[in-house]
Symmetry: none
Subunit: 222 residues, 4 copies
DNA sequence: AAGTAAACGAGACGGTACGTCCTGTCTTCTT
DNA sequence: AAGAAGACAGGACGTACCGTCTCGTTTACTT
């Protein structure tokens, strides 16, 4: 996905008419996003304030409010620009391998850096419907689509039952993922990735033949 | 469930020594919880403030802070007292029936009343570690245990593979449940209950025999 | 009074060199002054803002700042153009009659329309030295001169003592006038006009003869 | 006038019920008024802001807003407490002497210190009706009354005509005083004090006898 | 009965951030 | 050049809650 595809979440959809008036200051734009990242790292999501960002960026508060609706959108753009949803989803030959690879990367990122940020964004999405839509369409949906692509590939390979409900399968992965992330009950580690993968294979794989069994006989069993 | 089972989350564990000084005013206690419920209904979780509760209850702010750490704990107690997590989990004869019944009740409540409240509590749990523990042990864990019990029963019936990871199975249900609840993407309806149930059966049920197939041939498939 | 006599307070003294570049837009000029009058009437002096005028006039802010230094100057010009300080000061035959006529007209205008505006201008003059000079020379001084003329006429008629300090007399009229206007303590009505007139006659009139007494026996006495 | 008579202009009339709740912090009260005086001196009336006072006093903004309606009331109290309207008005034997003494003191103070403050207060009084009332009753009226007292004494001495309108006389003094103060046109000096005094004597003094003439033959004449 | 001690209502306190408004300047394209 | 448009840094506004604090007032259980 080219960088230019996510040029800006700010003023979503407002594809800057070339029109009249002073054009948006790219310098301020960057200073703001920089400040956000710096403050996120230094103080954490909860301690981040619009006022603090303005101060740190040397920018008027209005300049922030002009382009973003709330702190969450600001963080989302800063973070998206930064770790710009690199979702390669390379073909590793089998559904199991693809899933484990996908989860491995996702878990890694959530454990290392973006975990606290994603938790903060999700919390804000809960009490701001407008932002929730943005978060879903700009972030969550992309992960869902990446997963979808993986299952689709599995289907093409003949691993996945043609009648399987792929969207449900995605939810069965993303749900537990967020559950652990938000409640901090249980690690997002390789073991969990393997467990989830195995469980999902048990659900979506073609039955009566050995395609699943072949890979691992007894799915989620300890 | 006897009232004494959830005597009070306030000042958790502080089982009111009979000691000296004026005893806690039960009148104020009730007035506060009443006010919380009234305000929750009238204005919603986000608009609820400690100050507002004190005002509505005709109570000093200190009296609230004396017994509860934050608004989330306050709401949790008010709500727990109210719709006091009655989770009977009656035996309906089969794992499928038990699961669907459980999810039916849970979805109903979340859709009708408690959805917004649970979402608010979860959001607060995200940025308050202390409360998160409370929420988990006082609420989430109970649901998990109820599910656990259902799967256990299935195991005793011979429906569930003895080697199945029941805790993982619980997460595979509660995860998607919260996922839909928090992101408001997709309904918590009977269809979803059936889909989840079927998927879980595919995972935990004994293989090579037809115990699963018998109930519904191709699990999550459309 | 011809329009050319108060051609513009804007860019005071800068009598638009015919020079190069686009000439000043008379259309914008008028739109701005119109907007000022409309807003003054609708919202009052205090609520008037440069930004609001620009919006209302469909004009860039810069176009206002290019020609006026502050909102007060803008208002002064709009108002001066409008009720263009028509001070005929016709000779009514006696000092008393002239003074009462002058005050009558002045009070009428201040009571009907221009009171709030003049109060606003005066308030601004207090914290803006530059504008204060403008206000004095463009407005206050004119009133002073008109009064001066009246007293002068009285002197020529022999009513006023040749040694009287006419400027002081003017202050003794304008001072109380503004005092009542600004503090809104006491009306600017015919009675006050008569009282002021009588008091001033007592001060400036030729003594020992009956020129004053003739007109009204006991000056300011109830 | 005892200091205790002007204990506080804040929350005017709210004579602090001894009642319930934490009592007002006298420490904060003083810190605020101190800060006001310090900032007034350092930066001037116009540069004074509620925010700045709060910062300087080490006090929450709300604590200021709780007791004062606006910056003007704050300044008025600070200033009143400080130079607490010491208006002795001692009897100097004659109306002329009393008036000149009164004006001398007033002019001195306005020239030295309080001039800019009084101008600022007056400007604010213009666009805040509520404060205007306060300013009038807490300050202007007192000056008026002091003058009234002087004229009254003159009346008792037989200097002032029993039918003279004393209130009008007061306006004829205070009007020109404020006029010069606000417009900064002409000094508030001994000469002006003498001129005003002489003019007033011409108005209110008993005619036909020489009580006025005796003091100075030709009143306001140059 | 007097004393002690905690809980209570009230509400003031120092803080912090909010989101809005306006100022005066600037930068662009258009006329 | 002047103009319309509108973004920019800055700064104060007045509000809302936070969590803490200090009052005077109950309301028990000691002594």
């Amino acid at each position: 996905m080219a960088a230019s595809e996510i040029p800006s979440l700010s003023k979503v959809g407002a594809d800057c008419k070339p029109g009249r008036g002073r054009p948006r200051s790219e310098h301020s734009h960057e200073a703001i996003l920089d400040a956000v990242l710096r403050l996120l790292e230094a103080e954490g999501y909860d301690a981040l304030t619009i006022e603090g960002v303005a101060r740190q960026a040397g920018v008027g508060k209005q300049t922030i409010y002009r382009w973003w609706k709330c702190k969450a959108e600001l963080v989302l753009e800063a973070y998206a620009n930064h770790a710009a949803s690199k979702t390669p989803v390379p073909d590793r030959g089998s559904l199991r391998a693809d899933l484990e690879a996908f989860l491995g990367v996702a878990f890694k990122r959530l454990t290392d850096i973006s975990g606290p940020i994603m938790r903060g964004l999700m919390a804000d999405a809960v009490h701001d419907d407008e932002f929730r839509e943005v978060l879903v369409s700009a972030f969550v949906a992309k992960r869902h689509d990446a997963l979808r692509q993986i299952f689709q590939r599995g289907m093409e390979r003949g691993e996945v039952d043609l009648a399987a409900d792929i969207d449900l399968a995605c939810e069965l992965i993303l749900g537990p993922l967020w559950y652990r992330l938000l409640l901090q009950q249980g690690k997002l580690d390789a073991r969990f990735a393997r467990q989830l993968t195995t469980a999902l294979l048990a659900i979506v794989c073609v039955r009566a033949d050995s395609s699943c069994e072949r890979i691992e006989p007894v799915a989620v069993r300890a």
